[in-house]
Symmetry: C2
Subunit: 266 residues, 2 copies
Amino acid sequence: MTQPQVPFDDRGLAYGDGVFETVLLREGKPVLWSYHLARLRRGCQRLGIPVPCQEALDATWQGIAETPLEVLKLIVTRGSGGRGYALPESPMPRLLSRRTPFVPATARWQKGVTVRLCRLRLGHQPALAGIKHLNRLENVLARGEWQSADIAEGLLADMHGELVEATSMNVFWQRQGRIYTPRLDKCGVAGTLRDALIEQGIVREATLPVAALPTLERLWVANSVQGVWPVITLVCHTGTQKQTWPLEPVDDFQVAAHRLLGYAAQ
Amino acid sequence: MTQPQVPFDDRGLAYGDGVFETVLLREGKPVLWSYHLARLRRGCQRLGIPVPCQEALDATWQGIAETPLEVLKLIVTRGSGGRGYALPESPMPRLLSRRTPFVPATARWQKGVTVRLCRLRLGHQPALAGIKHLNRLENVLARGEWQSADIAEGLLADMHGELVEATSMNVFWQRQGRIYTPRLDKCGVAGTLRDALIEQGIVREATLPVAALPTLERLWVANSVQGVWPVITLVCHTGTQKQTWPLEPVDDFQVAAHRLLGYAAQ
């Protein structure tokens, strides 16, 4: 399969000047599509990039599914042009996409995962917070902190020590029976599963210092492609174990989230 | 001239996972080449990207010059591969380059420029500060704040209100006869002209709250391609004039910097 290409002067390559989406396709149909479209539009508007038309966006997933589940990755860049950082007068955004077969890590749904607290702290930039833009070096550096396959994800705090997200997932926790996720107004990516869970009233936004992580009743990492992984072990970046949680026989949060994604209850 | 291309899965496009250099070529030879190489290496090392070999880097400028001055743009990405943000086990970096004819804005050397204080504040991220990585959305957003051709550059402060840089240049100021430039340990790009000026003892690092800008004796913006522009007018982001400086008959700082770049004294 030939990949789409972008030229040297594309601003997505030059400056990370664009946004992307990673969408679960079930039998060729996008899951949580309206949430992905909403975030893509929000990102384009924030950056002043014209939003590709609905037909072009829909065309990225129309076609025959090769496997029951696929991942569709979409990239929208501002295109070429402009002098240096200056914006082109008549931007011609590029929309690129690719579909790849996908199998979720179901063992992680059932057995839970070990996560690690990353050393890197996310910087604050309200102008870019929440959107899924192409400037992802912080995530790359954080993910580069560990190699062990035993560690499923890394938790990220901001410069003030507040929990923000995992490197490619959002974070959720339970306290006094209620489920929360970090506010993402200063940094972090607002996932579409997170958006849907908030909209349904299942989750609410809150702040949590990472120092309080061991006091939580339960902890999960989740996104719209992989679903929900219960955290059973938290290690700090030195590898020292900080906390463990027992695996619950019935995980209502996971069931509710997986219903949104079309994953059958375990 | 056909441009080099990168595939969809190149990490430079996907995440801004790479670095770049913008180099002045004079009669086909790179100016401040050792400083550009040093910064490129520093950037690759910080990101854990293997540094391209010297021969490959030199090959980007070897060839016949079409015009007396050109700009060489180099991009080094981590290449393709890795699962999501996870680093590829055996990274195969991509080195891309392009040369374009260049004519400096000499009127700005002689007549000075108007700069504007940008609304956007740079976020702190010490892990990425100083290097010229491909995550440049802050610069793009800042440069997008104005369209008027009368404004040559935008000054950027950090979240604490300290002066950092201009959107594509470094900033220098004079106080009590001495010349300073902002420390770049929390954000900003350390320019090669700035590096050379510090190494030569012409400039030293300091901090400056933007509120103190009107009290400076003199102010300049500069980079290794355009040279040094004396600032004669500073406007705030609402367009209100904050300060003016007279144009000096002899600008020793500009003369010293232009000597490093091979630009004749005015």
